[in-house]
């Protein structure tokens, strides 16, 4: 799913801005980042709500498994489901946008560092909106502003000699990955009442 989404966006993008190689090379990397963010938010209404509605979360809590562990496991599972496929799909997408090899390398490293942060945001938004009607729209509104640092440093790392941006991207990722299980766990507990 995220792979098809990314490839579709990458093939539509040149139609939208025109087949100018120089322009595509300059803006294509940032476009891949936007597509990655949206691909991470694509399944957000399926991450927590079905398990909550089926009573799985209750049964897990009954067995003494804390909500934080549940959120952590879901975050890792969400990353596995879209992170690696996205990193691989970024290669043909880069070809479609005619990105240069050094840019592709920096994009791939950036995606590797940044997709855990996107997975964390997806779980956080899903946990906060679980059980709410039209949850996916609300989750998008919640998660997109929080994704600004990821996008700034992710897209910033595409320029030559910008190792600082990669470090900041890694830092943002670490903070989000560390905080999400705690915040999402609290949201799951509060949502039970």
């Amino acid at each position: 799913m995220p792979v098809a989404f990314l490839l579709l966006v990458a093939s539509l993008f040149p139609f939208a801005v025109g087949p100018d190689v120089r322009l595509l090379g300059q803006t294509g990397g940032g476009m891949v980042w936007i597509a990655a963010l949206l691909a991470a938010l694509l399944p957000v209404d399926r991450l927590i709500t079905p398990d909550r509605d089926a009573g799985v979360l209750d049964q897990l809590a009954l067995r003494g498994i804390s909500e934080e562990i549940v959120a952590l496991a879901k975050m890792i599972a969400h990353w596995i489901s879209f992170g690696p496929p996205l990193i691989i799909a970024a290669l043909p997408a880069s070809a479609l946008l005619k990105l240069e090899l050094p840019v592709i390398m920096r994009l791939e490293v950036g995606l590797l560092l940044g997709t855990p942060a996107l997975a964390a945001l997806g779980i956080l938004a899903a946990a906060l909106t679980a059980g709410v009607r039209s949850a996916s729209a609300l989750a998008g509104l919640l998660a997109l502003p929080l994704a600004i640092p990821v996008l700034i440093f992710g897209a910033g790392s595409l320029h030559e000699g910008s190792h600082g941006a990669l470090k900041f991207l890694a830092a943002v990722s670490l903070v989000l990955v560390a905080l999400t299980p705690i915040a999402a766990g609290a949201a799951l507990r509060a949502g039970r009442e």
Partner: protein, 198 residues
């Protein structure tokens, strides 16, 4: 095994009940009664630790198993496969699942996907999970809902066997289950006259 002293519960800013006290020793069972919305399910969830205790004390030491209106089984897996997920969580073997399936006459359906089961079969599947878990304390929320007469008899037999083995049962039911509870509580919302529903 479970003691509750002057328990109170608040849901959505509304006081559901206060002053609920009971004590259950091994081999005892408790039936919760009361009309719809009085807080029977909330009391069960409170005992399970899924709701915060608003007032009073609650101590429950034993491993619990709960059966409520949620099935909590993977719809796309076979019945045996979905149940074995929880068996692994509970640290019991698949043999326990097979024995419990046999108890509720579900063995012929063990390879059927969960989504194909009927209402009564789903309820029995949830009860199988409770039985297979090996937990000493059973929390059953309307366990008889959707069950036909033969299935109700199976449920009664399973409850009897559980209590005979030193287990405890706390159940909420609006109709009579084929099982003799040692104790019962009638819940009541505060501010209602005593004979509101009698």
């Amino acid at each position: 095994m479970v003691t509750a002293h002057q328990l109170g519960c608040v849901r959505g800013g509304r006081l559901l009940f206060t002053g609920v006290s009971f004590a259950l020793a091994r081999g005892e069972s408790l039936l919760l009664r009361g009309h719809n919305g009085v807080g029977k399910s909330s009391l069960l969830r409170l005992i399970a630790g899924l709701l915060p205790v608003f007032a009073g004390n609650l101590s429950a030491f034993e491993r619990m198993a709960m059966c409520d209106e949620h099935l909590a089984l993977d719809e796309n897996r076979t019945l045996a496969g979905a149940l074995s997920f929880w068996a692994h969580m509970d640290g019991v073997s698949d043999n326990a699942v097979s024995a419990a399936l046999e108890c509720y006459a579900l063995t012929p359906l063990r390879d059927i996907p969960v989504r194909m089961l009927s209402t009564g079969q789903r309820k029995r599947a949830a009860l199988v999970r409770v039985l297979a878990s090996g937990a000493l304390l059973w929390l059953l929320d309307e366990p008889g809902n959707g069950l036909d007469a033969p299935s109700l008899a199976l449920l009664g037999a399973a409850m009897q066997a559980h209590v005979a083995n030193g287990g405890c049962i706390i159940a909420a039911s609006h109709f009579n289950l084929p099982f003799a509870f040692t104790d019962s509580i009638t819940l009541q919302n505060p501010g209602e006259p005593d004979d509101a529903h009698l």
